[in-house]
Amino acid sequence: MGGSTPFREANSFFGNLYDLFAESQIFGVSLIPQWLAYFVAGFLVIFVVINAVVITTTLGTWVERRLIGRIQSRLGPNRWGPFGLLTPVADALKLLTKEDTRPDGVDPWVFNLAPLVFILGPLLVFAVIPFGKNTYVANLNIGILFIIAVTTVPTIAMFMAGWGSGNRYSLFGAMRGVAQLVSYEVPLVLSIVGVLLLAGSLSLVDIVESQSIPFILIQPLGFFIFMLAISAEMNRSPFDIVEADSELVAGFHTEYSGMKWGTFQLAEFIAPFGAAAIITTLFLKGWEGPALPSHLWFFIKVWGVWFVLLWVRATLPRLRVDQIMGLAWKFLFPLGLINIFVTAGLLLVWPEPTIAQLWAMGGVNWVVALVCLVVSSHLMSDKLTTRAPLAPAPGTSRSRAQEAG
């Protein structure tokens, strides 16, 4: 039963629910028809996953603010509820009851749609993430490609917001965001290719199951590039030139207020969890682990990666626009190519690697990673940190002097 249904997976979260509804019978009569069971099961799964993600994120905002507070020798929010645990609730209530202002000169359709499109990407990432053994919404055979595709959706929303606001700061932020995404998408995809070569599949479930050793040990360079590129993709510090509050007020969401602004913020807080889930799945063996239940392992790993992202955010200052672009094209892009060639070469030598051969691959990759990092840092450090002198503006005394002399 249900074999003809698309995306029907044996033993999956959705499949079990579907079976429960479709096959429950009273005196030989089906309780609900098959097509309805499909919708009910699908709706329930989406409902549970989205709520779990949003509630985790809400808790995450509190943890993030508390931890960053402690890192800066402050306490963080601690007034509402025990240890300030109700602060997200208070924030949400405040945002929901706040006046939704719309400045003159906005493009209403684009302006109002932007927050919804923006939150779409981070939420869709969780559609293909395996949360535990046999727990996923859909096991797409192009899972990681799907993730790469949907994580670019927020950029469209960002540009919609920047363009629709009719504000120069917003437009500047949006343009920076698009430029940054176009640059960082390249090293992001290149860093994943090494993992895909090792796993031999694009499906995230298969990637998790093919990791006899966590891929972070075999793909250190890929992990490094992926961490940097995904931070840039999420516009998180130190790559947050899109928002850059000291330069652009708030970047693309300068003109938003109320729950529209709240939706942007929610999406930006969901994104690190999505990124942590992707990193856990690709590099940290996903939900697999000894002794503890698989869901708990996944949970622990995601929060661990999330903490590293937060830690980096709390430590490093924002980079300049040209530094960020230089980092992507001059540093991460060549490293990603080297990583692909080394991994592919090793797989040519050992086409079906055993555990020992995987460890050997890891050793080679670590040496390559360290050498590449040191050498390319040495080659690129001057070019990344110093800016080419600007051409003098035409008509100024300096340019006239240059023309004369």
């Binding site: 507070g69 402690r70 890192i71 020798s73 402050r74 306490l75 830690w311 980096v312 040191v374 840092s377």
Partner: protein, 166 residues
């Protein structure tokens, strides 16, 4: 070696994470304040005041208003004036303390409080009734006799008019 600086920075933030925060939870706990702190709620001893209005004359902003009539009860100096009005508009006061310096009889002291916030400007005027009823914990600012006896308004006992003279 490149990246060492970033690693050092990360270690700084990580060690900060396990350090005690500097935050003082103000309404529940307060930072210790100096004995010479020039606060609001001036401390005024009616028994020592002759109604000479030196404080009002020396005030650079002219925010002290004194109205008297003859026949006061000054114990120190014999004949004096009784105080009818002693208004200090602390909404405009800059806490320079010149009124306290000017007082010849050590009748006026700077206060030690800082929590007299109000919602209306009129409520910021300290009246003579308020001065009479106020908690007498004078600041030791410009009053060496208080410092000599090691007095601290925070945690110290309220002082009577006989204890604060030179």
């Amino acid at each position: 070696m490149y990246g060492i600086g970033i690693a050092k920075g990360l270690m700084v933030t990580l060690t900060n994470l396990f350090r005690k925060p500097f935050t003082v939870q103000y309404p529940e706990e307060a930072v210790p304040q100096a004995a010479r702190f020039r606060g609001e709620e001036f401390v005024w001893y009616e028994e020592r005041c002759t109604g000479c209005a030196s404080c009002a004359k020396y005030c650079p902003l002219g925010i002290i208003r004194i109205v008297t009539h003859p026949g006061g009860s000054n114990v120190q100096e014999g004949e004096s004036y009784a105080i009818d009005v002693f208004d200090i508009d602390i909404g405009r006061c800059m806490f320079c303390g010149l009124c306290v310096e000017a007082c010849p009889y050590d009748a006026l002291f700077m206060g030690s409080g800082f929590e007299r916030g109000q919602y209306r400007r009129d409520d910021l005027v300290i009246t003579v009734d308020e001065l009479r009823q106020a908690d007498k914990r004078p600041s030791t600012w410009y009053r060496p006799q208080l410092e000599a006896r090691d007095y601290h308004p925070q945690g110290g006992q309220p002082l009577s008019w006989e204890e604060v003279g030179r």
